[in-house]
Symmetry: C2
Subunit: 219 residues, 2 copies
């Protein structure tokens, strides 16, 4: 679709157009996720999409614009889930268990996104600025405050030990993400590089984390 780089993906485009565009985006995701912005090559993306390189620039003018799209998609898959977990009104421990189950599943389905986000954001934190404007940044603050309030309520009710909301959240996400982004190192150092053993480890990790956290915060 012409001027697509401005108007984006809309419902009135034909199946054919959607396919070409989607093929490019899929290929771009694949290449960018594994090689990063600086390591990705437009030619490789074109090859993987089965199209001419010039067509890439026809749809997404520049490498930066294409990268932006891929990054935004990756970001949206992972980050809102974290604040999302704090929104429901179930008890804290239930909430956490639910989150860990879902987040670990998400990580298993997209194991390369977190390292990609970490790498690109450390190299250029500026990317976040524009993303934060677009997305649900307004309510975010209230959500965190509410989650903290809920925790303090349960602390006073004698359900939980005294814990700080943000420390808890960073710990939970860290315990979930590290075995994924650090896989090459951990698998090498602690599992003699045995892929099967490590997959088993990841399989039971969910339960391990939940038990570890509940043990820590339950009064």
């Amino acid at each position: 679709m012409w001027l697509n780089f401005i108007v984006n993906t809309y419902s009135f485009m034909t199946e054919h157009e959607k396919n070409t565009e989607q093929k490019i985006l899929d290929a771009a995701e694949d290449v960018f996720l594994h090689k990063g912005m600086s390591g990705a090559r437009m030619q490789e993306i074109a090859d993987k999409a089965g199209i001419n390189k010039a067509l890439l620039h026809y749809y997404y003018r520049t490498k930066d614009k294409l990268f932006e799209k891929v990054f935004e998609k990756a970001f949206k898959i992972f980050i809102p889930k974290v604040t999302g977990m704090m929104a429901s009104d179930t008890p804290v421990i239930e909430k956490i268990k639910f989150f860990i189950d879902n987040y670990m599943d998400l990580l298993t389905r997209h194991p390369f996104i977190p390292a990609f986000l970490i790498s690109e954001l450390n190299r250029n934190p500026q990317i976040l600025v524009s993303l934060f404007e677009k997305n649900v940044q307004l309510t975010r603050n209230d959500i965190i405050k509410n989650f903290d309030k809920q925790i303090q309520t349960e602390v006073k009710a004698g359900i939980l030990k005294s814990v700080d909301a943000r420390n808890l959240m960073v710990s939970i996400v860290g315990m979930c993400i590290f075995p994924i982004v650090g896989r090459p190192i951990i698998q090498g150092v602690l599992f003699e590089n045995n892929k099967k053993d490590y997959n088993e480890f990841l399989g039971q990790r969910k339960e391990s984390i939940k038990e570890f956290i509940v043990n820590s915060i339950k009064a």
Copy 2:
């Protein structure tokens, strides 16, 4: 020093030589750590070292060779510490507290190394193979087994709750590393991008992790 790429840094080289070589290595570290293998430019490294680009190739034939040196140094700073923590014969909880204090300090001093290692290793896990051959891979297995044995002893002695050594180690390191590698995201989402607030958060994080873990594993 001529043929330096083969013989490496030895004590019999003059101060002048050591300086030039070190200047290159420092500059390379700086650039590689922030831009990664594919994003780093030999010209930028040369500029930062204040030398001609050809001199870079005189000392370290290729970009790959130079990268290898930087990577190995970064790796050696961080990874042996983890297995090292398990070697002493103090009680488990003391060991863990000592490790967290030291590791968090290390992370604060070198905040960009972990993301660098994660990124490069996910992109090319092959790098590890040669490194594992060179380094203390022999005793590593015994160290882990001994640590696990110590834990199980303390479990039976009623000091600790039942915990798996490798899960525990991954959790500890994950809780330490995530606030560093995920800084841009966490600072943005949870701290309204306030740098000062985040530094304060990092300052108390050490104690928070220790308390969190002890609460979880103490019987």
